[in-house]
Amino acid sequence: MNLYDLTIHQSHELLKNGEVSSTELTRAVLERISKVEEKLHAIVTVTEELALRQAQQADERIRSGDSTPLTGIPALIKDNMCTRGIRTTCASRMLENFVPPYNATVVEKLGDAGVVIVGKGNMDEFAMGSSNEHSAFFVTHNPWDLGSVPGGSSGGPAAAVAAGEAIYALGSDTGGSIRQPAGFCSIVGLKPTYGRVSRYGLVAFASSLDQIGPMTKDVTDSALVMNVIAGYDHRDSTSVNYPVPDYTKALSSDLNGLKLGIPREYFVEGMQKGVEEVMRTAIAKLEDLGATVDWEASLPSTRYALAAYYIIAPSEAMANLARYDGVKYGYSYDGENMWDDMEKTRQFGFGPEVKRRIILGTYALSAGYYDAYYLKAQKVRTLIMQEFQQAFEHYDALITPTSPTVPFKIGQKVDDPLQMYLSDVCTLPINIGGIPGLVVPAGFCDGLPVGMQILGKPFSEETLLRIGYAYEQATDWGQQRPPILERQNDAS
Protein backbone atom coordinates (compact mmCIF):
# COMPACT_ATOMS: atom_id res chain seq x y z
CA MET A 1 0.00 0.00 0.00
CA ASN A 2 1.15 3.51 -0.76
CA LEU A 3 1.65 5.81 2.22
CA TYR A 4 -0.54 8.46 0.61
CA ASP A 5 -3.44 6.02 0.50
CA LEU A 6 -3.45 5.58 4.28
CA THR A 7 -6.25 6.79 6.49
CA ILE A 8 -5.65 8.97 9.55
CA HIS A 9 -5.93 6.06 11.98
CA GLN A 10 -3.67 3.83 9.87
CA SER A 11 -1.09 6.62 9.64
CA HIS A 12 -1.32 7.26 13.35
CA GLU A 13 -0.55 3.62 14.16
CA LEU A 14 2.55 3.69 11.96
CA LEU A 15 3.71 7.03 13.34
CA LYS A 16 3.13 6.02 16.92
CA ASN A 17 5.04 2.77 16.49
CA GLY A 18 7.88 4.54 14.77
CA GLU A 19 7.42 2.53 11.58
CA VAL A 20 7.16 5.69 9.55
CA SER A 21 7.93 9.32 10.30
CA SER A 22 5.68 12.28 9.62
CA THR A 23 8.38 13.61 7.35
CA GLU A 24 8.27 10.40 5.27
CA LEU A 25 4.51 10.44 5.17
CA THR A 26 4.47 14.12 4.23
CA ARG A 27 7.06 13.58 1.49
CA ALA A 28 4.98 10.72 0.10
CA VAL A 29 1.92 12.97 -0.04
CA LEU A 30 3.88 15.86 -1.57
CA GLU A 31 5.31 13.53 -4.21
CA ARG A 32 1.84 12.27 -4.94
CA ILE A 33 0.73 15.88 -5.39
CA SER A 34 3.54 16.60 -7.80
CA LYS A 35 2.58 13.51 -9.76
CA VAL A 36 -1.19 13.86 -10.06
CA GLU A 37 -1.89 17.54 -9.53
CA GLU A 38 -1.37 18.45 -13.18
CA LYS A 39 -4.26 16.13 -14.01
CA LEU A 40 -6.52 16.97 -11.07
CA HIS A 41 -5.97 20.67 -10.31
CA ALA A 42 -7.31 20.12 -6.82
CA ILE A 43 -4.99 22.48 -4.98
CA VAL A 44 -4.71 26.27 -5.24
CA THR A 45 -1.59 26.63 -3.11
CA VAL A 46 0.79 23.80 -2.19
CA THR A 47 2.57 24.65 1.06
CA GLU A 48 5.52 22.28 0.77
CA GLU A 49 7.93 24.20 2.95
CA LEU A 50 5.43 24.69 5.73
CA ALA A 51 4.36 21.06 5.54
CA LEU A 52 7.89 19.76 5.91
CA ARG A 53 8.54 22.12 8.79
CA GLN A 54 5.35 21.03 10.54
CA ALA A 55 6.23 17.37 9.84
CA GLN A 56 9.57 17.85 11.52
CA GLN A 57 7.91 19.41 14.55
CA ALA A 58 5.41 16.56 14.58
CA ASP A 59 8.19 14.01 14.54
CA GLU A 60 9.75 15.65 17.57
CA ARG A 61 6.41 15.70 19.29
CA ILE A 62 5.78 12.04 18.51
CA ARG A 63 9.23 11.14 19.82
CA SER A 64 8.49 12.96 23.05
CA GLY A 65 5.33 10.88 23.43
CA ASP A 66 3.00 13.87 23.22
CA SER A 67 1.15 13.04 20.02
CA THR A 68 -2.57 13.18 19.24
CA PRO A 69 -4.36 11.03 16.64
CA LEU A 70 -3.87 13.87 14.12
CA THR A 71 -0.24 14.70 14.89
CA GLY A 72 1.99 14.63 11.86
CA ILE A 73 -0.75 13.74 9.40
CA PRO A 74 -0.96 15.74 6.14
CA ALA A 75 -4.19 17.63 5.54
CA LEU A 76 -5.59 19.92 2.89
CA ILE A 77 -7.60 22.96 3.95
CA LYS A 78 -10.30 24.28 1.65
CA ASP A 79 -9.18 27.69 0.48
CA ASN A 80 -11.97 29.56 2.24
CA MET A 81 -10.56 29.02 5.72
CA CYS A 82 -8.10 31.64 6.89
CA THR A 83 -4.55 30.49 7.40
CA ARG A 84 -2.15 33.01 8.92
CA GLY A 85 0.60 33.85 6.51
CA ILE A 86 -0.76 31.56 3.78
CA ARG A 87 -2.82 33.17 1.08
CA THR A 88 -6.50 32.39 1.29
CA THR A 89 -8.14 33.00 -2.05
CA CYS A 90 -11.64 31.50 -1.97
CA ALA A 91 -10.69 30.64 -5.57
CA SER A 92 -11.51 34.23 -6.48
CA ARG A 93 -9.59 36.93 -8.34
CA MET A 94 -10.84 39.16 -5.56
CA LEU A 95 -8.63 37.45 -2.97
CA GLU A 96 -5.94 36.05 -5.25
CA ASN A 97 -3.20 37.70 -3.18
CA PHE A 98 -4.92 37.95 0.17
CA VAL A 99 -2.78 36.75 3.07
CA PRO A 100 -4.76 36.65 6.31
CA PRO A 101 -3.07 37.86 9.50
CA TYR A 102 -5.03 35.31 11.53
CA ASN A 103 -6.04 31.66 11.66
CA ALA A 104 -9.53 30.26 11.50
CA THR A 105 -10.45 28.57 14.77
CA VAL A 106 -10.45 25.15 13.09
CA VAL A 107 -6.98 25.78 11.70
CA GLU A 108 -5.83 26.84 15.13
CA LYS A 109 -7.29 23.64 16.62
CA LEU A 110 -5.67 21.43 13.98
CA GLY A 111 -2.45 23.30 14.65
CA ASP A 112 -2.66 22.48 18.35
CA ALA A 113 -3.22 18.84 17.40
CA GLY A 114 -0.03 18.86 15.33
CA VAL A 115 -1.40 19.10 11.79
CA VAL A 116 0.74 19.11 8.67
CA ILE A 117 -0.84 21.45 6.13
CA VAL A 118 0.06 20.47 2.58
CA GLY A 119 -2.01 23.13 0.87
CA LYS A 120 -5.22 24.97 0.25
CA GLY A 121 -7.94 23.20 -1.72
CA ASN A 122 -9.58 24.44 -4.88
CA MET A 123 -13.28 25.25 -4.78
CA ASP A 124 -16.05 27.08 -6.53
CA GLU A 125 -15.48 30.80 -6.06
CA PHE A 126 -16.59 31.81 -2.54
CA ALA A 127 -18.08 28.30 -2.24
CA MET A 128 -20.81 29.09 -4.74
CA GLY A 129 -21.23 26.18 -7.09
CA SER A 130 -21.60 22.44 -7.32
CA SER A 131 -18.89 21.46 -9.77
CA ASN A 132 -15.70 23.43 -9.09
CA GLU A 133 -16.08 24.92 -12.54
CA HIS A 134 -16.64 28.28 -10.85
CA SER A 135 -13.10 28.43 -9.49
CA ALA A 136 -11.50 31.56 -10.91
CA PHE A 137 -8.22 29.68 -11.37
CA PHE A 138 -8.85 26.22 -12.79
CA VAL A 139 -11.35 23.39 -12.87
CA THR A 140 -10.69 20.42 -10.64
CA HIS A 141 -11.17 17.04 -12.32
CA ASN A 142 -12.81 14.01 -10.81
CA PRO A 143 -10.16 11.36 -10.12
CA TRP A 144 -12.67 8.65 -11.10
CA ASP A 145 -13.16 10.23 -14.50
CA LEU A 146 -11.01 13.15 -15.51
CA GLY A 147 -13.72 14.35 -17.88
CA SER A 148 -16.20 14.75 -15.06
CA VAL A 149 -16.56 17.28 -12.29
CA PRO A 150 -15.57 16.39 -8.71
CA GLY A 151 -18.64 18.20 -7.40
CA GLY A 152 -18.55 21.38 -5.42
CA SER A 153 -17.93 23.59 -3.86
CA SER A 154 -15.36 21.53 -1.89
CA GLY A 155 -14.36 19.72 -5.09
CA GLY A 156 -10.64 20.30 -4.60
CA PRO A 157 -10.52 18.75 -1.13
CA ALA A 158 -12.73 15.83 -2.25
CA ALA A 159 -10.64 15.02 -5.32
CA ALA A 160 -7.41 15.45 -3.37
CA VAL A 161 -8.43 13.07 -0.58
CA ALA A 162 -9.72 10.48 -3.07
CA ALA A 163 -6.49 10.68 -5.06
CA GLY A 164 -4.09 10.63 -2.11
CA GLU A 165 -3.02 14.27 -2.33
CA ALA A 166 -3.91 14.54 1.34
CA ILE A 167 -4.76 12.05 4.07
CA TYR A 168 -7.83 14.13 4.90
CA ALA A 169 -9.25 17.57 4.32
CA LEU A 170 -11.48 20.21 5.85
CA GLY A 171 -14.37 21.33 3.69
CA SER A 172 -17.25 23.70 4.20
CA ASP A 173 -20.88 23.04 3.43
CA THR A 174 -23.58 25.64 2.83
CA GLY A 175 -25.96 23.63 0.65
CA GLY A 176 -24.09 20.38 0.09
CA SER A 177 -20.55 21.58 -0.55
CA ILE A 178 -18.95 18.85 1.57
CA ARG A 179 -21.44 16.06 0.91
CA GLN A 180 -22.05 16.30 -2.83
CA PRO A 181 -18.33 16.27 -3.76
CA ALA A 182 -17.71 13.54 -1.16
CA GLY A 183 -20.37 11.49 -2.93
CA PHE A 184 -18.95 12.34 -6.36
CA CYS A 185 -15.43 11.33 -5.33
CA SER A 186 -16.37 8.32 -3.17
CA ILE A 187 -15.07 9.60 0.15
CA VAL A 188 -16.71 10.31 3.52
CA GLY A 189 -18.02 13.82 4.13
CA LEU A 190 -19.74 15.14 7.23
CA LYS A 191 -21.66 18.37 7.54
CA PRO A 192 -22.04 18.80 11.30
CA THR A 193 -25.02 20.37 13.04
CA TYR A 194 -25.07 24.15 12.58
CA GLY A 195 -23.18 25.52 15.60
CA ARG A 196 -21.19 22.35 16.25
CA VAL A 197 -17.96 23.64 14.65
CA SER A 198 -16.80 27.25 14.90
CA ARG A 199 -17.16 29.31 11.74
CA TYR A 200 -14.63 31.90 12.90
CA GLY A 201 -12.19 32.34 10.04
CA LEU A 202 -14.36 30.59 7.49
CA VAL A 203 -14.94 33.16 4.77
CA ALA A 204 -18.69 33.62 4.95
CA PHE A 205 -20.96 32.65 2.10
CA ALA A 206 -24.34 32.30 3.84
CA SER A 207 -23.84 32.80 7.56
CA SER A 208 -26.91 30.91 8.79
CA LEU A 209 -26.12 27.87 6.62
CA ASP A 210 -22.30 27.57 6.50
CA GLN A 211 -20.63 24.84 8.48
CA ILE A 212 -17.14 23.31 8.40
CA GLY A 213 -16.67 19.55 8.42
CA PRO A 214 -14.25 16.69 7.77
CA MET A 215 -13.67 15.09 4.36
CA THR A 216 -11.97 11.76 4.95
CA LYS A 217 -11.28 8.34 3.52
CA ASP A 218 -13.39 6.56 6.11
CA VAL A 219 -15.84 7.09 8.95
CA THR A 220 -13.31 6.52 11.73
CA ASP A 221 -11.24 9.39 10.34
CA SER A 222 -14.34 11.57 10.26
CA ALA A 223 -14.87 10.88 13.97
CA LEU A 224 -11.21 11.60 14.73
CA VAL A 225 -11.31 14.97 12.99
CA MET A 226 -14.59 15.86 14.67
CA ASN A 227 -13.01 15.14 18.05
CA VAL A 228 -10.61 17.99 17.33
CA ILE A 229 -12.66 20.60 15.47
CA ALA A 230 -16.03 20.39 17.25
CA GLY A 231 -16.91 22.61 20.18
CA TYR A 232 -17.84 26.02 21.43
CA ASP A 233 -15.79 29.02 20.36
CA HIS A 234 -16.17 32.37 22.11
CA ARG A 235 -15.39 34.06 18.80
CA ASP A 236 -18.45 32.52 17.12
CA SER A 237 -21.70 33.55 18.80
CA THR A 238 -23.57 30.88 16.85
CA SER A 239 -21.40 28.04 18.07
CA VAL A 240 -23.25 25.97 20.62
CA ASN A 241 -21.81 25.27 24.05
CA TYR A 242 -22.69 21.61 24.11
CA PRO A 243 -20.32 18.88 25.29
CA VAL A 244 -18.11 17.26 22.64
CA PRO A 245 -18.19 13.48 22.92
CA ASP A 246 -15.45 11.12 21.79
CA TYR A 247 -17.02 10.41 18.43
CA THR A 248 -14.99 7.22 17.90
CA LYS A 249 -16.87 5.65 20.83
CA ALA A 250 -20.07 5.73 18.76
CA LEU A 251 -18.66 3.49 16.05
CA SER A 252 -20.13 -0.01 16.20
CA SER A 253 -20.69 -2.61 13.54
CA ASP A 254 -24.38 -3.33 14.03
CA LEU A 255 -27.47 -1.21 13.69
CA ASN A 256 -29.74 -3.16 16.01
CA GLY A 257 -32.59 -1.12 17.39
CA LEU A 258 -32.19 1.80 14.97
CA LYS A 259 -35.22 3.02 13.09
CA LEU A 260 -34.46 4.54 9.70
CA GLY A 261 -36.83 6.54 7.51
CA ILE A 262 -36.55 6.90 3.75
CA PRO A 263 -38.20 10.20 2.80
CA ARG A 264 -39.83 9.62 -0.57
CA GLU A 265 -39.46 13.25 -1.62
CA TYR A 266 -35.69 12.71 -1.93
CA PHE A 267 -36.14 10.23 -4.72
CA VAL A 268 -36.86 13.11 -7.00
CA GLU A 269 -38.17 13.31 -10.49
CA GLY A 270 -35.33 13.17 -12.98
CA MET A 271 -33.22 11.07 -10.68
CA GLN A 272 -30.78 8.80 -12.45
CA LYS A 273 -32.06 5.21 -12.44
CA GLY A 274 -28.67 3.76 -11.51
CA VAL A 275 -28.39 6.08 -8.52
CA GLU A 276 -31.75 4.92 -7.24
CA GLU A 277 -30.70 1.27 -7.65
CA VAL A 278 -27.49 1.84 -5.71
CA MET A 279 -29.52 3.49 -2.96
CA ARG A 280 -32.01 0.63 -2.74
CA THR A 281 -29.20 -1.90 -2.43
CA ALA A 282 -27.47 0.21 0.19
CA ILE A 283 -30.64 0.58 2.24
CA ALA A 284 -31.22 -3.17 2.05
CA LYS A 285 -27.74 -3.58 3.50
CA LEU A 286 -28.67 -1.30 6.42
CA GLU A 287 -31.64 -3.58 7.09
CA ASP A 288 -29.31 -6.58 7.04
CA LEU A 289 -27.26 -4.85 9.68
CA GLY A 290 -30.22 -4.77 12.04
CA ALA A 291 -31.95 -1.47 11.30
CA THR A 292 -35.68 -1.15 10.82
CA VAL A 293 -36.44 0.70 7.60
CA ASP A 294 -39.60 2.65 6.83
CA TRP A 295 -39.95 3.49 3.14
CA GLU A 296 -42.95 5.67 3.78
CA ALA A 297 -41.29 8.58 5.54
CA SER A 298 -42.32 11.94 4.15
CA LEU A 299 -41.07 15.51 4.30
CA PRO A 300 -43.57 17.28 2.04
CA SER A 301 -41.98 20.75 2.19
CA THR A 302 -38.81 19.39 0.61
CA ARG A 303 -40.04 20.52 -2.78
CA TYR A 304 -39.87 24.14 -1.63
CA ALA A 305 -36.40 23.85 -0.16
CA LEU A 306 -34.54 24.68 -3.36
CA ALA A 307 -36.38 27.96 -3.88
CA ALA A 308 -36.10 28.90 -0.21
CA TYR A 309 -32.40 28.07 -0.24
CA TYR A 310 -31.65 30.11 -3.35
CA ILE A 311 -33.31 33.10 -1.71
CA ILE A 312 -31.81 32.81 1.79
CA ALA A 313 -28.27 31.93 0.75
CA PRO A 314 -27.87 34.70 -1.86
CA SER A 315 -29.48 37.27 0.47
CA GLU A 316 -26.92 36.59 3.16
CA ALA A 317 -24.17 36.32 0.55
CA MET A 318 -25.07 39.71 -0.88
CA ALA A 319 -24.19 41.26 2.49
CA ASN A 320 -21.23 38.98 3.22
CA LEU A 321 -19.59 39.90 -0.09
CA ALA A 322 -20.19 43.64 0.26
CA ARG A 323 -16.87 44.05 2.07
CA TYR A 324 -14.90 43.33 -1.10
CA ASP A 325 -14.57 46.91 -2.29
CA GLY A 326 -10.88 47.16 -3.10
CA VAL A 327 -10.14 49.49 -0.19
CA LYS A 328 -8.78 47.31 2.63
CA TYR A 329 -7.50 44.17 0.93
CA GLY A 330 -7.86 42.16 -2.22
CA TYR A 331 -8.20 43.11 -5.85
CA SER A 332 -8.54 46.83 -6.50
CA TYR A 333 -9.40 48.42 -9.83
CA ASP A 334 -7.87 51.76 -10.69
CA GLY A 335 -10.66 53.73 -12.30
CA GLU A 336 -11.84 57.30 -12.67
CA ASN A 337 -13.00 58.01 -9.15
CA MET A 338 -13.77 56.32 -5.85
CA TRP A 339 -17.13 54.87 -6.89
CA ASP A 340 -15.81 53.79 -10.27
CA ASP A 341 -12.97 51.98 -8.49
CA MET A 342 -15.38 50.20 -6.19
CA GLU A 343 -17.92 49.26 -8.83
CA LYS A 344 -15.32 47.95 -11.28
CA THR A 345 -13.37 46.18 -8.53
CA ARG A 346 -16.52 44.18 -7.98
CA GLN A 347 -17.24 43.79 -11.67
CA PHE A 348 -13.83 42.35 -12.48
CA GLY A 349 -13.03 40.75 -9.11
CA PHE A 350 -16.05 38.44 -8.99
CA GLY A 351 -16.90 35.63 -11.39
CA PRO A 352 -20.32 35.09 -13.00
CA GLU A 353 -21.86 32.73 -10.42
CA VAL A 354 -20.92 35.00 -7.51
CA LYS A 355 -22.41 37.96 -9.36
CA ARG A 356 -25.60 36.06 -10.10
CA ARG A 357 -26.05 35.38 -6.42
CA ILE A 358 -25.25 38.93 -5.38
CA ILE A 359 -27.88 40.16 -7.83
CA LEU A 360 -30.39 37.58 -6.69
CA GLY A 361 -29.82 38.39 -3.02
CA THR A 362 -29.94 42.13 -3.56
CA TYR A 363 -33.22 41.71 -5.38
CA ALA A 364 -34.76 39.36 -2.81
CA LEU A 365 -34.13 41.89 -0.03
CA SER A 366 -34.91 45.08 -1.90
CA ALA A 367 -37.83 47.34 -1.08
CA GLY A 368 -41.07 45.87 -2.34
CA TYR A 369 -39.77 42.32 -2.73
CA TYR A 370 -38.64 41.51 0.80
CA ASP A 371 -41.95 39.96 1.88
CA ALA A 372 -42.48 37.91 -1.26
CA TYR A 373 -38.97 36.51 -1.33
CA TYR A 374 -36.80 36.81 1.76
CA LEU A 375 -39.54 36.70 4.39
CA LYS A 376 -41.46 33.98 2.59
CA ALA A 377 -38.31 31.87 2.34
CA GLN A 378 -37.65 32.28 6.07
CA LYS A 379 -41.19 31.08 6.79
CA VAL A 380 -40.72 28.09 4.53
CA ARG A 381 -37.52 27.48 6.46
CA THR A 382 -39.60 27.21 9.63
CA LEU A 383 -41.82 24.60 7.98
CA ILE A 384 -38.85 22.57 6.77
CA MET A 385 -37.29 22.64 10.23
CA GLN A 386 -40.56 21.57 11.82
CA GLU A 387 -40.90 18.65 9.43
CA PHE A 388 -37.40 17.45 10.24
CA GLN A 389 -38.17 17.77 13.92
CA GLN A 390 -41.35 15.72 13.55
CA ALA A 391 -39.57 13.10 11.43
CA PHE A 392 -36.89 12.65 14.07
CA GLU A 393 -39.56 11.91 16.64
CA HIS A 394 -40.13 8.70 14.66
CA TYR A 395 -36.75 7.90 13.18
CA ASP A 396 -33.21 7.78 14.49
CA ALA A 397 -32.00 8.81 11.07
CA LEU A 398 -33.16 9.42 7.53
CA ILE A 399 -31.42 7.87 4.53
CA THR A 400 -31.35 9.66 1.17
CA PRO A 401 -29.29 9.87 -1.99
CA THR A 402 -26.66 12.63 -2.00
CA SER A 403 -27.29 13.86 -5.51
CA PRO A 404 -29.81 12.85 -8.17
CA THR A 405 -27.00 11.89 -10.55
CA VAL A 406 -23.46 10.61 -10.69
CA PRO A 407 -20.74 13.17 -11.48
CA PHE A 408 -21.64 15.04 -14.64
CA LYS A 409 -19.31 16.05 -17.42
CA ILE A 410 -17.20 19.18 -17.18
CA GLY A 411 -19.01 21.89 -19.14
CA GLN A 412 -22.35 20.10 -19.05
CA LYS A 413 -24.18 22.44 -16.65
CA VAL A 414 -21.91 25.42 -16.25
CA ASP A 415 -24.02 27.69 -18.44
CA ASP A 416 -27.33 26.60 -16.97
CA PRO A 417 -27.45 27.86 -13.40
CA LEU A 418 -30.80 26.23 -12.61
CA GLN A 419 -29.62 22.78 -13.68
CA MET A 420 -26.53 23.28 -11.59
CA TYR A 421 -28.63 24.31 -8.58
CA LEU A 422 -30.69 21.14 -8.94
CA SER A 423 -27.68 18.95 -8.24
CA ASP A 424 -27.91 20.17 -4.61
CA VAL A 425 -31.57 19.34 -4.26
CA CYS A 426 -30.94 16.46 -1.84
CA THR A 427 -28.34 18.23 0.26
CA LEU A 428 -29.53 21.81 0.70
CA PRO A 429 -32.61 21.07 2.85
CA ILE A 430 -30.21 19.81 5.51
CA ASN A 431 -28.54 23.23 5.78
CA ILE A 432 -31.92 24.90 5.94
CA GLY A 433 -32.80 22.57 8.80
CA GLY A 434 -29.48 23.15 10.57
CA ILE A 435 -29.18 19.37 11.04
CA PRO A 436 -26.14 17.12 10.47
CA GLY A 437 -25.64 15.01 7.36
CA LEU A 438 -23.06 12.31 6.65
CA VAL A 439 -22.23 10.99 3.21
CA VAL A 440 -20.50 7.64 2.77
CA PRO A 441 -19.54 5.79 -0.43
CA ALA A 442 -22.45 3.54 -1.43
CA GLY A 443 -21.37 2.04 -4.70
CA PHE A 444 -20.96 2.89 -8.34
CA CYS A 445 -23.14 3.49 -11.34
CA ASP A 446 -21.49 3.29 -14.77
CA GLY A 447 -18.15 3.29 -12.97
CA LEU A 448 -18.87 6.58 -11.18
CA PRO A 449 -19.39 6.99 -7.43
CA VAL A 450 -22.71 7.26 -5.64
CA GLY A 451 -22.91 8.53 -2.08
CA MET A 452 -25.47 7.68 0.58
CA GLN A 453 -26.62 10.55 2.78
CA ILE A 454 -27.53 9.88 6.42
CA LEU A 455 -29.42 12.61 8.28
CA GLY A 456 -30.16 13.04 11.96
CA LYS A 457 -31.54 15.52 14.44
CA PRO A 458 -29.30 18.32 15.73
CA PHE A 459 -26.22 17.03 17.57
CA SER A 460 -26.82 13.40 16.55
CA GLU A 461 -23.47 13.11 14.75
CA GLU A 462 -22.70 10.00 16.81
CA THR A 463 -25.72 8.17 15.42
CA LEU A 464 -24.82 9.16 11.86
CA LEU A 465 -21.23 8.03 12.32
CA ARG A 466 -22.43 4.76 13.82
CA ILE A 467 -24.64 4.03 10.80
CA GLY A 468 -21.93 5.09 8.36
CA TYR A 469 -19.36 2.97 10.14
CA ALA A 470 -21.49 -0.17 10.23
CA TYR A 471 -22.26 0.24 6.54
CA GLU A 472 -18.62 0.89 5.70
CA GLN A 473 -17.54 -2.24 7.60
CA ALA A 474 -20.06 -4.35 5.73
CA THR A 475 -19.10 -3.07 2.25
CA ASP A 476 -15.86 -2.27 0.49
CA TRP A 477 -16.87 0.80 -1.53
CA GLY A 478 -14.77 3.08 0.60
CA GLN A 479 -11.62 1.06 0.08
CA GLN A 480 -11.64 1.38 -3.68
CA ARG A 481 -9.26 3.93 -5.07
CA PRO A 482 -9.82 5.83 -8.33
CA PRO A 483 -8.65 3.42 -11.09
CA ILE A 484 -8.77 5.82 -13.99
CA LEU A 485 -6.12 8.03 -12.52
CA GLU A 486 -3.79 5.13 -11.85
CA ARG A 487 -4.17 3.80 -15.38
CA GLN A 488 -3.37 7.20 -16.79
CA ASN A 489 -0.38 7.47 -14.49
CA ASP A 490 0.85 4.04 -15.45
CA ALA A 491 0.59 4.93 -19.10
CA SER A 492 2.69 8.06 -18.69
Binding site: S237, T238, Y304, Y310, V327, M338, S366, L418
Partner: protein, 95 residues
Protein backbone atom coordinates in the same frame (compact mmCIF):
# COMPACT_ATOMS: atom_id res chain seq x y z
CA UNK B 1 -41.40 37.42 -12.14
CA UNK B 2 -39.54 38.96 -15.05
CA UNK B 3 -36.76 41.39 -14.31
CA UNK B 4 -36.58 44.48 -16.45
CA UNK B 5 -33.36 46.03 -17.64
CA UNK B 6 -34.02 48.89 -15.21
CA UNK B 7 -34.41 46.42 -12.34
CA UNK B 8 -30.99 44.95 -13.06
CA UNK B 9 -29.46 48.42 -13.37
CA UNK B 10 -31.01 49.44 -10.07
CA UNK B 11 -29.63 46.32 -8.38
CA UNK B 12 -26.25 47.00 -9.92
CA UNK B 13 -26.27 50.45 -8.27
CA UNK B 14 -27.48 49.14 -4.93
CA UNK B 15 -24.73 46.55 -4.65
CA UNK B 16 -22.12 48.81 -6.29
CA UNK B 17 -21.16 46.33 -9.00
CA UNK B 18 -21.02 47.60 -12.55
CA UNK B 19 -21.90 45.37 -15.50
CA UNK B 20 -21.16 45.29 -19.17
CA UNK B 21 -24.14 45.36 -21.51
CA UNK B 22 -23.66 41.70 -22.28
CA UNK B 23 -23.61 40.84 -18.59
CA UNK B 24 -26.67 42.93 -17.98
CA UNK B 25 -28.63 41.08 -20.63
CA UNK B 26 -27.43 37.67 -19.52
CA UNK B 27 -28.22 38.32 -15.87
CA UNK B 28 -31.60 39.78 -16.76
CA UNK B 29 -32.53 36.57 -18.53
CA UNK B 30 -30.96 34.12 -16.07
CA UNK B 31 -32.28 35.77 -12.94
CA UNK B 32 -35.75 36.08 -14.46
CA UNK B 33 -35.64 32.40 -15.18
CA UNK B 34 -34.57 31.58 -11.64
CA UNK B 35 -37.24 33.85 -10.15
CA UNK B 36 -39.86 32.09 -12.24
CA UNK B 37 -38.90 28.87 -10.53
CA UNK B 38 -39.36 30.55 -7.18
CA UNK B 39 -43.04 31.06 -7.97
CA UNK B 40 -43.52 27.63 -6.42
CA UNK B 41 -43.24 29.30 -3.00
CA UNK B 42 -46.63 30.93 -3.59
CA UNK B 43 -48.17 27.50 -3.18
CA UNK B 44 -47.03 27.28 0.43
CA UNK B 45 -49.50 28.40 3.05
CA UNK B 46 -47.40 30.28 5.58
CA UNK B 47 -50.25 31.92 7.47
CA UNK B 48 -49.23 32.15 11.12
CA UNK B 49 -45.84 30.62 10.37
CA UNK B 50 -43.07 32.67 11.98
CA UNK B 51 -39.89 33.24 9.99
CA UNK B 52 -36.66 31.56 11.10
CA UNK B 53 -33.48 33.55 10.77
CA UNK B 54 -31.35 31.59 13.21
CA UNK B 55 -30.98 27.81 13.18
CA UNK B 56 -29.73 27.09 16.73
CA UNK B 57 -31.98 28.01 19.65
CA UNK B 58 -29.45 30.38 21.17
CA UNK B 59 -30.07 33.60 23.11
CA UNK B 60 -28.07 36.32 24.84
CA UNK B 61 -24.64 35.34 23.60
CA UNK B 62 -22.48 38.15 24.93
CA UNK B 63 -18.95 38.84 26.04
CA UNK B 64 -17.46 40.76 28.91
CA UNK B 65 -16.27 44.27 28.13
CA UNK B 66 -12.55 43.52 28.21
CA UNK B 67 -9.80 44.85 26.00
CA UNK B 68 -7.50 42.41 24.22
CA UNK B 69 -4.47 43.33 22.12
CA UNK B 70 -5.15 44.52 18.57
CA UNK B 71 -3.02 43.64 15.56
CA UNK B 72 0.06 45.71 14.72
CA UNK B 73 -0.60 48.46 12.19
CA UNK B 74 1.67 46.71 9.70
CA UNK B 75 -0.57 43.62 9.76
CA UNK B 76 -3.69 45.71 9.33
CA UNK B 77 -2.23 47.46 6.30
CA UNK B 78 -0.37 44.45 4.88
CA UNK B 79 -3.08 43.67 2.32
CA UNK B 80 -4.02 47.29 1.57
CA UNK B 81 -4.09 48.08 -2.15
CA UNK B 82 -3.07 51.68 -1.34
CA UNK B 83 -1.73 53.15 1.85
CA UNK B 84 -0.04 56.29 3.11
CA UNK B 85 1.50 57.15 6.48
CA UNK B 86 -0.32 54.44 8.37
CA UNK B 87 -3.66 55.07 6.69
CA UNK B 88 -5.59 53.30 3.96
CA UNK B 89 -5.75 55.51 0.91
CA UNK B 90 -8.65 55.82 -1.53
CA UNK B 91 -9.67 58.29 -4.17
CA UNK B 92 -11.56 61.29 -2.86
CA UNK B 93 -14.71 60.35 -0.97
CA UNK B 94 -17.03 63.27 -1.58
CA UNK B 95 -20.17 63.84 0.49
Amino acid sequence: MKLSREDVLHISTLCRMSMSNAELERFQEQISNILENFEILKEVDTTNVPPTAYPPPLENVIREDKVAPCLPQSDILANAPHQEEGYFRVKAVLD
